[in-house]
Symmetry: C2
Subunit: 392 residues, 2 copies
């Protein structure tokens, strides 16, 4: 069994990542492996960093891809700043805020959770209150697009509050980078990271991160070593930055792929890329609404790249997902944690964010729901989506 | 600059890894990305684990690829077993033993170093002495093939000593797995890990690890959480083993590549693969010796997959490496740490371990050394290597 060929299906990836990969990225991924100290590779590293800075809209020197998936970047971001005795405020309104807290609580750090119901945003004032209540907060950490709920968290005001209280500001943009406007420098984000397999449409396994001077200073001023050698940016920075000192062997081919993915995004243009994500997100929501489906998140905070739809009463959510996968080759995702079985999560990220995916998915869903006995006005979803796609 | 095409040269990779990648592995790498919970991917995960067990020669249930490079697996191996207050004995006779100690010293662990000169093995009795001297040693950690020195460490006796004293036995086989005989179960190795880009000839970025029941028991009995969430095997085991609970998004395409690399190795057959590494290693050493070059390691402990040759007096080692790269497209490596500038490291790992590489390298080196004014008997290297390649 283990030795036989496995034929991988060409899925339409409309879950919360991975998204579909551009053919050019696949080609780059399978380019000849060179050594991690090869002059050609060093040049490629430099240009990858430059492209990352453009996508993060930052001038930060310390910008690089972490050799792991988005969660590795999350741990690198938190773990390089926090040390025993520090206080961190974490916004928790979904699965990934919870993950941050699970990480930070391992390092003798005081973790202050500011919670909101899953599906809602964290109110800036709730963060402000905790900032005032605690003597010295080192870090405020927020998730931008919570893929577990489809909520897009407003960022600017919380950043200002953090800085007013002398705290650093960390933002998770795993699902949002390249999908909507994230001007890292302008919004005062001190530490920002992302993943590769969402709006960047690269396979998973490499994760961009950027730290500004204030964050580097915090790193430099640490009294204790970073908990993880593998993720220790005070060492890694000498491989990616000045010196080129070997730290660990970079995931070379994944870096080829990331660089190509960044080129694809920047060739389209950031603004065009954001507009495409917004247009397709609007079309999907309009379609689902016309099919009389409800959303988890309130209207004003719905992310374009990931939509959480309530599974209608009496419908077997998991069953629908299986039919979508088996009969239509479309992957969407279910709910995590307390939302398990209650929602579907439909992603429109990177190369997966396209009109044909919106229309194909709505058509398939209508067919399946109708069979399941859930009454859907005929073609209402596709028509509503089409209206938006045609006019924008 | 950053947006332009970068043409990657098809190097002959004869450094300490990455090694050249088999075309079938490249093809697998660029197969369509599917979701990390896709039934096709789950099936592929299962078969990858089965193939890993064959290569590790183990029945260990907990066998999986860590989502990072070899150093991530090193940190996972050490960090899942060790917790504050524990004592670990680490054999230090090269760069990677030192890396282990740099990791373990971050976690309030007592690190006992058993040192030997770089280029020499660690004598089992030296480990035995420290095992007797310390009351309760949790773990003994050794590097099998030290790529920094070309030394192959004998493993069996140290394992027995560790177990006699109730310690677990951890072995780094980053450079040796699939290059020589490593029967994990038979040799009583409790925790073993490797890298992908050495004798497995897969691109870097994914790293196999295996833990037996005794190691899992140590993990289960921990009083504190593992230092790293990303590398926490007590969570990851539920994604790779029973339950299929999502932990982090697996580096999907890298796992495709690893699986194909394992298939390539097992199709050749482990014994054939070891014999090939041995034959080519012998041929290389015979050639270098005939060219009057000296080795760092004593004869009985020279690894077949990586050879450390002394740079002859008066020869510019770095200059020779550059000519090899620029004029012959061959990558070899220099020395690390105290051996910087003093040795060349020539790898014959995985797909890079082939007769044509041995002969091509010896020919190129003769030409360059002759130009440099170092007297080499004409064709002596190639002839000596050929003799071995022809008779075996």
């Amino acid at each position: 069994m283990s030795m036989r060929e496995i034929n991988l299906p060409a899925r339409i990836l409309m879950g919360p990542g991975p998204s579909n990969v551009h053919p050019r990225v696949m080609q780059a991924l399978s380019s000849p492996t060179v050594g991690h100290m090869d002059p050609t590779f060093i040049e490629l590293m430099d240009s990858t960093v430059e492209l990352l800075r453009e996508v993060f809209q930052t001038k930060n020197f310390l910008t690089l891809p972490v050799s792991g998936t988005g969660s590795a970047a999350m741990e690198a971001a938190l773990g390089n700043i926090l040390e025993p005795g520090d206080t961190v405020i974490i916004g928790l309104n979904g699965f990934f805020g919870d993950r941050m807290s699970q990480m930070a609580s391992r390092w003798d750090v005081e973790v202050v959770l500011v919670e909101a119901e899953w599906g809602h945003i964290i109110e800036p004032e709730a963060i402000g209150k905790e900032l005032r209540r605690h003597k010295k907060v080192k870090l405020v950490a927020m998730v931008h697009a919570e893929t577990s709920t489809g909520v897009l968290q407003p960022l600017e005001e919380i950043g200002k509050l953090a800085h007013e209280h002398g705290a650093l500001y960390l933002v998770d943009t795993v699902a949002s980078l390249a999908g909507c406007h994230i001007p890292v420098d302008e919004w005062g984000i001190d530490i920002c990271y992302s993943g590769s397999q969402k709006c960047l449409s690269c396979p998973p396994g490499i994760a961009p991160i950027t730290l500004n001077d204030a964050a580097i200073q915090a790193l430099d001023n640490r009294k204790s070593k970073v908990h993880s050698w593998y993720l220790d940016l005070s060492l890694i920075k000498y491989y990616w930055g000045t010196g080129r000192t070997y730290h660990h062997t970079a995931p070379i081919n994944m870096i080829y792929a990331l660089r190509e993915a960044l080129r694809v995004v920047l060739e389209e243009g950031l603004e065009n890329c954001f507009a495409r994500h917004h247009r397709n997100g609007c079309a999907l929501r309009a379609g689902l609404e016309a099919m009389r489906l409800k959303f988890l998140a309130p209207e004003s905070y719905r992310a374009d790249m990931i939509t959480a739809v309530m599974v209608p009463d009496g419908v077997d959510g998991e069953g629908v997902r299986q039919v979508l996968l088996n009969d239509f080759n479309i992957e969407i995702s279910g709910g995590l944690g307390p939302l398990k079985g209650k929602i579907w999560r439909v992603g429109l990220m990177g190369q997966s964010s396209k009109a044909s995916n919106v229309l194909g998915f709505l058509t398939a869903l209508e067919q399946i729901l109708t069979k399941e006995g859930f009454e859907v006005p005929q073609s209402a979803g596709v028509n509503a989506a089409n209206k938006i796609l045609a006019t924008s």
